[in-house]
């Protein structure tokens, strides 16, 4: 098993429970989409897996190694993390991707480090942008650079926190297709938090639904039922099959929402 998460329990500093009894496992070449409403604990789960937040309880194993007890640098050898927000400074794309070799570098990048960065740029179609500054890139290009950075870490598992949240439709599809291709070709595993269930259905091998910090359901895309989505999000939906794949369609209320209007009082 590439990634095994067992009984994760996490709390905020004020003692508020965020995650309780979270567990799943993931094989090589597989992608797990973590879904759920805002505040369900999706980002916190990724942070706990990566050791960015110390869980109160639980074990995370990558290739049978308990990573939470490792030095952060050793964790970075095994888990590549793409954060939700990226800062863009006056840094060229090549140097931004080279940063991903940091966990492997002692003092300066070796020729092998530079070659691996070049390989990643080629692989992700970024070669022509190598000498562009990050603040000159589009949202999709920037997201691809961040994925390239995580890729040159040469991790076993990729963790991506809402990688499509600021992208248009085409870029969303391109980025997720790219992630799936990388994961399968490099025999890695990936955990992606998403808001769009349909993207999860299309690009993930497993769906994990969180609700109130607990696993509500873990299903394969083909097995998703409308009741599960309705129970997690509190919205009535239909799950239909389109072009061989399941698609979630929210039921739109026929009546437009009404708002009470205050009557102006005459003096």
């Amino acid at each position: 098993m590439m990634l095994s998460v067992q009984d994760i329990r996490a709390e905020y500093r004020n003692g508020q429970l965020v995650l309780d009894n979270i567990g799943f496992s993931l094989d090589r070449g597989r992608t797990l989409a973590v879904l759920g409403p805002n505040g369900a604990g999706k980002t916190t789960l990724l942070r706990c897996i990566n050791g960015l937040m110390k869980p109160r309880h639980g074990v995370v194993r990558v290739e049978d190694i308990d990573v939470l007890n490792l030095h952060p640098n050793a964790i970075a050898h095994r888990l590549g993390y793409v954060a939700q927000r990226h800062e863009v400074g006056r840094v060229k794309v090549f140097d931004a991707v080279l940063l991903g070799r940091k966990p492997h570098m002692v003092w300066s990048p070796s020729r092998a480090d530079l070659s691996k960065v070049s390989g990643a740029l080629d692989r992700l179609g970024l070669r022509s942008l190598a000498l562009r500054y990050l603040d000159e890139l589009s949202g999709g290009e920037l997201q691809t650079v961040c994925i390239a950075r995580a890729l040159v870490q040469e991790p076993s598992v990729l963790l991506l926190d809402e990688p499509t949240s600021s992208l248009d439709l085409k870029n969303r599809l391109d980025i997720l297709a790219l992630i799936r291709r990388i994961v399968r070709e490099h025999r890695m595993a990936a955990v992606i938090t998403l808001h769009d269930i349909n993207l999860g259905l299309r690009f993930a091998d497993q769906l994990l639904f969180l609700k109130d910090g607990r696993v509500f359901a873990q299903v394969e895309p083909d097995a998703l039922k409308a009741e599960t989505v309705a129970a997690v999000y509190g919205v009535a939906v239909d799950v239909v099959r389109h072009d061989g794949q399941k698609v979630v369609i929210p039921r739109i209320s026929v009546e437009p929402p009404t708002f009470k209007q205050k009557n102006k009082e005459t003096p």
Partner: protein, 358 residues
């Protein structure tokens, strides 16, 4: 596990890094030229040949050997070291605080040092004035003043860092704590000045004029040790600062202990500033603007940014020191006045050129 085929490094990238290396080499050359200019020029012009003879310990004409070795050399070295130290501290603070206004001023360190000096003058009796032949005034017990300034500076840094540890070392908490402390120390200095007599007041004001002329060989020795350790520390952490520039979460994902790097960096930057300010007085502008000037030329990559910023700081302070000795010779202007006069137009030029270009 190797995921990636070995790629061919783009030749344009190799050329790009070579260009940055050339910028650093050019700055080294500029520093060397300015260093010799600082030894040669002044109220008494010493020919370059005699400067080199004096540095090699050979016999020189008249008093030139004494002027070069005993007067100008420690001043030039102090300018070189202080410029490098303040600029490196500024670059590190701006990165770890992720704030372009990060500098010893932003964190209240300079204000704390000025308060410490004022307290030494008024509370500890260090403010006895001495008139020199050039009508300049000095603080009589400069060692005591420097020590008190250093103590206040480090106290301010420790308070900021302590608050950071208590509330989580976010850049906002550190900067806001520094601004609040700076205001507090400024008010403290004003309070002391209000009750000071005219002699004490003059001594307090005199101390705040940053001047490399105060440094002797002992001060140069201390500064060399501290600046050397500080710059080495920042260099070791250059990849950590690059990672923090990419965002705290990304940096953590790359194995960086962000809070620890931030607090240690703050501590070392404060130490550098405290030692330099304690010996030379308040020299503003270098720590704030030199990193920005360099960023606009060679970008944010700390592999090149740190050495280039140190050299730019040194060049600026060496040039300022030389001009300060020439412009109203035989009177010597405080170097802090000249750093802003020289650096501000250069910075504004780069700012405008970049804005027009973009």
């Amino acid at each position: 596990m190797s995921h990636l085929n070995q790629g061919r490094i783009p030749s344009a990238y190799a050329a790009y890094t070579r260009r940055k290396t050339k910028v650093v080499a050019a700055l080294m050359l500029l520093c060397a030229v300015l260093f010799f200019a600082a030894l040669s020029l002044g109220a008494v012009h010493v020919p370059l040949r005699e400067v080199i003879r004096a540095l090699l310990g050979l016999e020189t004409t008249g008093y030139w050997g004494i002027i070069v070795r005993d007067i100008r050399l420690p001043h030039a070295l102090a300018a070189f070291l202080a410029g490098a130290g303040l600029a490196a501290a500024g670059a590190a603070m701006q990165s770890i605080l992720r704030n372009p206004l990060g500098s010893p001023f932003t964190l209240g360190l300079s204000q704390a040092a000025a308060f410490g000096a004022a307290f030494a003058v008024m509370g500890l009796g260090a403010g006895v004035m001495q008139s020199t032949q050039t009508d300049a005034v000095t603080v009589a017990r400069s060692g005591l003043t420097a020590l008190t300034a250093f103590g206040a500076c480090m106290a301010a840094a420790l308070i900021v860092i302590g608050i950071g540890r208590l509330r989580g070392a976010t850049p906002e908490v550190l900067v806001l704590s520094g601004v609040a402390l700076g205001s507090l120390f400024s008010a403290g200095t004003m309070f002391l000045q209000y009750f000071a007599d005219d002699v004490q007041l003059a001594a307090m004001v005199f101390w705040t004029f940053g001047d490399v002329g105060r440094a002797g060989w002992r001060e140069v020795g201390y500064m060399a040790a501290v600046v050397g350790v500080g710059v080495a520390f920042f260099s070791i952490n250059r990849w950590n600062y690059n990672a923090i520039d990419a965002g705290d979460q990304t940096a953590r994902g790359l194995g960086v202990r962000v809070e620890r790097v931030r607090l240690m960096g703050m501590m070392v930057a404060a130490m550098l500033t405290a030692v330099i300010v304690a010996f030379l007085g308040v020299i503003g502008f270098v720590g704030l603007v030199c990193p920005h000037i360099v960023r606009r030329i060679i970008g944010d990559d700390h592999r090149f940014l740190l050495p280039a910023t140190c050299l730019t700081g040194s060049a600026l302070l060496l040039a300022a020191d030389t001009i300060a000795r020439l412009v109203l010779a035989p009177h010597v202007l405080p170097v802090a006045v000249l750093t802003a006069f020289l650096g501000a137009p250069a910075f504004l030029y780069l700012l405008i050129r970049r804005s027009v270009g973009s």
